[in-house]
């Protein structure tokens, strides 16, 4: 019956127009009972709250959420934006370092009369802390990147089964190595914070481009401004990664699903920037500068190198000991 149909259409329109729950059961204009006129509907509930939730009898509070569409934005970020951001950050840094290497080349050690003499730059606990953090970081970043790029790059190469196995181990590595990583960051914070307080000298160092750009060697203490930046990046990002990671490791302990989505966004954004930053750190600590690696390798650096790059620190060290510069055990690096 067209008349009936029209009425229904009208009723439905009226239903949709109604956004506030009425107190009494409502009857339609044609007298037909219409309980739905007062019943809840999706549109109305979404206006009250971005999530639709109710009561459920099983003792699982999260199951009481009926619809939580926020995952859609998260998915948009994760699938459409994150791969590009990640690629840009990581590849961008690699490209930049490459360019730098080819234009500037390796920064050579400037020889002087001090060459060959060694000074202890990092003691063994410092080196232990650094390497623990570093090795964890490498595994964490690879397994982390795998969450984003694995299925795009690796899986086509090795097939789904092998990739899934790898990803599974990657996941375990990511979760479990996060703890020594966080501990390492904590150690480094305690060990080096006093040498990383920014000062005026850092400003000068920065203005001179850290000597990388010109031939001048700005003065620096134990750590130059660039190293201090790495330190604070590691500490800051390390803590941020730890905090967001922990929130995700313990689901619903501190936050709900939306919170975890946000944590994941922060975690992944910082992650890729962190990786880019550490790439630069690795470059300068190894390939980029002759003699830098020794600091973390054997712990002892060439005095000449030290005097060039950390003149203030060398002075300070020499002042501490009446017998002159602290010399290492041997003339040759332990390696």
């Amino acid at each position: 019956m067209p008349m009936r149909r029209l009425t229904s259409l009208f009723l439905l329109a009226a239903t949709l127009a109604l956004t506030v729950p009425a107190v009494a059961q409502v009857r339609a204009p044609d007298g037909a009972p219409n309980p739905t006129a007062s019943s809840v509907n999706e549109e109305m509930l979404f206006k009250q709250d971005p999530k639709i939730h109710g009561r459920i009898s099983i003792p699982n509070a999260t199951a009481a959420n009926l619809i939580q569409p926020q995952g859609r934005e998260w998915r948009e970020f994760r699938e459409s934006w994150m791969p590009w951001i990640g690629a840009l950050a990581v590849l961008g840094m690699i490209v930049a370092l490459g360019l730098f290497y080819f234009t500037r080349g390796r920064i050579r050690l400037e020889h002087s009369e001090e060459s060959g003499k060694k000074i202890l730059r990092f003691n063994s606990f410092e080196r232990f802390s650094h390497w623990m953090t570093a090795t964890c970081f490498i595994v964490l970043s690879l397994s982390g990147l795998n969450y984003i790029f694995g299925k795009r790059l690796l899986m086509p190469l090795i097939g789904p089964e092998a990739f899934a196995t790898l990803a599974q181990y990657g996941k375990y590595a990511h979760i479990y190595l996060a703890w020594p990583f966080m501990l390492g960051v904590l150690f480094m914070l305690v060990l080096w914070i006093k040498d990383n307080i920014p000062g005026k000298i850092d400003w000068i160092w920065l203005k001179q481009g850290g000597g990388l750009l010109g031939d001048a060697h700005p003065s620096a203490g134990r750590f130059n401004a660039g190293q201090k930046m790495v330190f604070w990046m590691v500490v800051g990002f390390g803590f941020a990664m730890g905090a967001t990671g922990i929130m995700m490791i313990f689901p619903f302990a501190a936050t709900d699903i939306n919170g975890m989505q946000i944590m994941q966004v922060i975690h992944s954004l910082i992650g890729v920037v962190f990786i880019a930053g550490i790439l630069a750190h690795i470059y300068i600590g190894s390939l980029g500068m002759e003699g830098a690696y020794d600091a973390m390798g054997s712990g002892e650096v060439d005095l000449a190198w030290a005097k060039v790059h950390h003149d203030l620190w060398v002075k300070e060290q020499q002042a501490k000991t009446a017998s002159g510069p602290q010399l290492g055990r041997g003339q040759v690096p332990a390696e």
Binding site: A32, P33, N34, S57, P160
Partner: protein, 980 residues
């Protein structure tokens, strides 16, 4: 890259591997059960899977089953809707459930319980073997030892204290055949102390409805609700208690754009779908119904023709109703007059209208009166005896209707034959035992406390103790219990121990018993209360899914269930246990004279045939096992709304589904059953009938027979009394009887054959001839608006014993103290004391109880089913938001609920909600196993504890009994709640 591995060759190649997979590694029991079936089913299926089968299935609306599993059909053992359960059985293992599309009752659907029923059979929390308590510890014993010890002790108790000192508590979970057998056992034992759950669910319905128009049962059916244009659901929450009924209710509501009015103190899941919700104060049903009728009479909306021709003494009701002006109704019940006027107009004018009620109406001290008032509302508006109308009473358990019909009741014999000489003699003839021998089994009761002595015959005709008071009958002083001795032994078959109010008193009673036997698939609360050190036995009984037998749904349809799998563990079915006890008690030969016993197990079909041979009074005579089985086989042929099969069908042609009683005459007569009771628009041979002429022909000069109303095609075109051979002779119809029929009537009647009636004529001749003349065997009477034999012939409002409105108690007091069912009922004194003590001030919250969809009854069975238990893990109390705020109670925290008797308290979780009004709390009644804050889990036999335990609401419920049936008051008491 990721696709379905769907190669046929590979699939077939995997057969051996599949089979190997089953044995190559260890499996847990559950996994094995499923897989042992799957392997076989799966193998068969692999060859037959067709692509696009999904589409076909959609088109057909049903699923084609390619597996070779055996399909067995039984009936869900939970509520009374009577859903068919379709089981897939492979190698004797129940491996899966399929939707029962063919059943016109459930059409494939189930509720949480029905959809999880397979686990009931497999449950590892079942009682596995017979056990007894020795010095407070459970010990495993053999069946032989159990039966021997139990029967020896029973005999000893009988010799010392008499037959009446043993209570036989039966079950609404019984099949019809087991119910009948259990009642027969009670009779052969020599007592009327035989009862079951109907006492605590719809005993008041049976009494109230039967006293109004003849039979105490749902007049129409779930399916027929599809015809209603208006429905009132009063004191019922079918969305949780009878979910499948809601398929019909909601469909009807949608198709007819029907008015669905829910009258309830609680905003239930059902109320959420109502077109009008009326919130009342618990226990004020009569003021509300009279308030509705006030508007009906005031506006002349009553069905005057109907009242004139088919109702007796409606004017008496008018007088009472006149007192219930809208103001007084609002003062007492809290419902505004305008709303009731709206309800009244819809119910009286938008017809057909049906009235649905459940335990919210029945479980009151005024239960019978409530039911009577509801019937009168139907009568006044002419809403009985037609499609879409009627009193659609939703019974509780799966076979509570059948168990009631078959006499698990302290006032009747099977099929409502009264405890009178005629009734006993009828059954003695059916059983082929001497009436005198039966009589000799009963006690003589000596005079006591001013009461006369009773002879064996008198005692045989005296109603027994109600199950609501069994523990009072143990603990009260001997002279207050009107039988030879108080109770000494409880034989509990399929009945929870937490379903009766006043648990603390029940625990006391349990401790004093000389013998307690619990025969059940689960240990039940009786086992867990830690009340007993010895003389306590547990017998593992299988579920009715593991046995053959019939079940009567709420709409009187009888459905045959076939054994799905063999009884699990060492459990045995009721028939076998009763038989073995009868053997030991020495009367098995007599009791099973006409019943074949195969391997020690009586055959269900033979039991039903015996019921058929004696079931004339209620029309249980036409439903032979063969006919019932044909119905199950041809389920799909029955119409969804009329429940009728096409006339031309060779097997079930013209039948109503399940041959709803009354199904007149012998099975060969092929009476179709009666879908809608009292429907005069059909010929009696088509299931038509009239109101039953049960109460005589005349009263105070007014006729009790119908006037100008008769069923279609009737030879008699006015009211007429019930038919006897004497009436037949007057009408000259005796000539229509065959020689054999005449001979049987002569034999039964002896020197007074005229007295042989439609109900006692074992030949079925009288019924057959009645049908040929188009008349109803039970006569054509009027329904009674005034039931003069009841305590309140016209229902009057009476405040609950523990009333939240002490100010109203003086005007509307409960009935005076009196003795009922061999016991004193001191409700009046308790009410007076409560008012005097100011109980309503100390306990300001009304406490009501009810049902959850996941659980059923006392809940032992369903709480042992992990699929259900997971959904409701904690006993809770619904507290109104405002009450909770006042008490600093947060949703989900533990609270104490204090009751006004026995300093009772219960520790439960708070569910803070506006489902209940301010000042009202509600608790589900399915929990037990915690008692006053203590977890009693350790007291269950090891491994047989239900998955979920919790406080029983009945720990804090209180005194109060209906005077007609001994129904307990579960819906209104008082409580106080505080944070725990």
């Amino acid at each position: 890259m990721l696709t379905k591995r769907r190669s046929g060759v590979a699939a077939r190649g995997s057969h051996q591997a599949l089979a190997a997979g089953l044995t190559a590694h260890t499996l847990d029991r559950r996994g094995f059960l499923r897989k042992s079936g799957l392997a076989a089913g799966g193998l068969a299926a692999l060859g037959t899977v067709r692509l696009g089968a999904v589409r076909q299935a959609q088109a057909a609306g049903a699923s084609a089953d390619p597996a070779q599993a055996v399909i067995r059909k039984n009936i869900c053992t939970h509520c009374s809707v009577g859903c068919t359960v379709t089981a897939e059985v492979v190698n004797g293992v129940w491996v899966g459930q399929e939707p029962s599309w063919a059943s016109p009752i459930n059409r494939g659907a189930h509720c949480a319980k029905g959809a999880a029923i397979r686990e009931l059979v497999h449950s590892d929390r079942r009682l596995r073997y017979p056990m007894k308590i020795v010095n407070g510890e459970w010990q495993r014993i053999s069946w032989d030892q159990a039966i021997t010890e139990i029967t020896d002790k029973l005999q000893a108790i009988r010799n010392k204290s008499g037959a009446d000192s043993v209570y036989w508590l039966g079950s609404a979970k019984f099949t019809n055949e087991a119910s009948y057998l259990f009642r027969k056992l009670g009779a052969f034992w020599g007592t009327n102390n035989v009862d079951h759950q109907a006492r605590i669910c719809h005993s008041t319905t049976v009494a109230g409805v039967a006293n109004t128009w003849g039979y105490g049962a749902q007049t129409n059916s779930y399916n027929d609700i599809r015809n209603a244009k208006t429905m009132i659901i009063l004191g019922g929450n079918p969305a949780e208690a009878h979910p499948i009924s809601m398929q019909h209710v909601l469909s009807g509501k949608e198709i007819n754009r029907a008015n669905m009015i829910v009258i309830d103190p609680r905003f239930t899941r059902t109320a959420a779908h109502a077109t009008e919700y009326v919130r009342i104060r618990s226990g004020t049903d009569i003021p509300v119904i009279w308030g509705i009728l006030w508007h009906v009479f005031q506006n002349g909306w009553e069905d005057k023709d109907f009242i004139k021709s088919r109702v007796y003494a409606m004017d008496d009701v008018r007088k009472e109703v006149a007192k219930w002006t809208p103001d007084e109704v609002e003062r007492v019940s809290g419902v505004p007059g305008e709303q009731l006027k709206r309800v009244a107009e819809l119910f009286a004018k938008e017809k057909p209208a049906t009235l649905i009620w459940c335990m919210g109406a029945t479980q009151h001290t005024v239960g019978t009166a409530n039911v009577r008032a509801l019937c009168i509302l139907c009568l006044a508006t002419g809403n009985v005896g037609k499609p879409g109308t009627g009193a659609n009473i939703f019974r509780g358990h799966t076979n509570v209707q059948g168990a009631t019909d078959l006499g698990l009741d302290v006032t009747t014999l099977p099929l409502y034959y009264g405890l009178v000489e005629g009734g006993w003699k009828h059954w003695a003839r059916v059983w082929e035992v001497e009436y005198d021998w039966l009589q000799s089994r009963f006690d003589e009761v000596p005079a006591s406390a001013g009461r006369k002595a009773r002879s064996r015959k008198e005692n045989m005709e005296t109603p027994g103790l109600t199950s609501t008071r069994w523990f009072d009958a143990v603990s009260l002083p001997a002279d207050q219990v009107d039988q030879r001795t108080p109770l000494k032994a409880m034989m509990v078959f399929g009945h929870g121990g937490n379903t009766v109010t006043r648990m603390p008193e029940a625990v006391k009673g349990m401790a004093e018993l000389e013998l307690l036997v619990v025969a059940d698939p689960h240990p039940t609360t009786f086992a867990a209360m830690d009340a007993r050190r010895d003389n306590t036995y547990l017998l593992p009984i299988c579920t009715s899914l593991e046995m053959d037998g019939s079940r009567t749904a709420s709409n009187r349809s009888i459905q045959w269930g076939e054994q799905i799998v063999k009884p699990a563990f060492e459990s045995k079915n009721d028939y076998e246990v009763i038989y073995r006890m009868a053997v030991k008690l020495g009367f098995a030969d007599k009791m099973f004279k006409n019943v074949k016993v195969v391997d020690g197990v009586p055959v269900a079909e033979d039991l039903l045939r015996e019921i058929n041979r004696g079931g004339w009074s209620t029309g249980y005579c036409g439903q032979s096992p063969e006919r019932l089985k044909a119905h199950m086989k041809n389920q799909h042929k029955f119409d969804l709304v009329t429940l009728r099969a096409p006339k031309d069908d060779p097997e079930v042609g013209g039948d109503y589904y399940g041959l709803p009683w009354p199904c007149w005459g012998k099975p060969e007569l092929k009476h179709p059953g009666t879908h809608i009771l009292y429907n005069t628009s059909l010929h009696v041979k088509e299931g038509g009938s009239t109101f039953r002429a049960r109460f005589g022909t005349e009263r105070n000069g007014q006729t009790l027979l119908a006037e100008d109303s008769f069923s279609k095609g009737s030879d008699l075109t006015d009211g007429y009394p019930e038919f006897t051979f004497g009436v037949f002779r007057k009408l000259g119809w005796d000539k229509d009887l065959t020689a054999d029929e005449l001979a049987t009537i002569q034999r039964i009647g002896g020197n007074n054959p005229d007295a042989v009636s439609w109900a006692t004529d074992l030949s079925g001749g009288i019924q057959r001839v009645c049908l040929d003349h188009g008349v109803i065997p039970f006569g054509n009477g009027k329904a009674r608006a005034n039931a003069w034999n009841l305590p309140d012939p016209v229902p009057v409002h009476r405040e609950p014993v523990y009333s939240p409105r002490p100010d109203l108690v003086a005007k509307y007091p409960t009935r005076p103290d009196e003795r009922q069912f061999r016991m004193p009922n001191v409700g009046f004194s308790v009410q007076k004391a409560a008012v005097d003590r100011g109980v309503a001030k100390q306990f300001p919250i009304i406490l009501s109880s009810g049902r959850l969809v996941e659980y059923e009854g006392g809940g032992e069975e369903t709480r042992s089913n992990p699929w259900l238990a997971e959904l409701q893990q904690d006993m809770f109390v619904e507290v109104n938001t405002a009450d909770a705020a006042e008490r600093g109670i947060k949703d989900g925290q533990f609270v104490w609920v204090y009751g006004p008797e026995n300093t009772a308290k219960a520790k439960v979780k708070a569910l803070v909600t506006d489902r209940v009004a301010k000042g009202v709390a509600w608790m589900p009644f399915h929990f037990s196993g915690w008692y006053q804050g203590k977890d009693m889990r350790e007291h269950y036999p090891k491994g047989a504890d239900p998955v979920v335990l919790g406080e029983s609401v009945n720990t804090v419920t209180t005194y109060g009994f209906d005077p007609v049936t001994g129904m307990q008051e579960t819906k209104v008491t008082l409580c106080q709640i505080s944070a725990a």
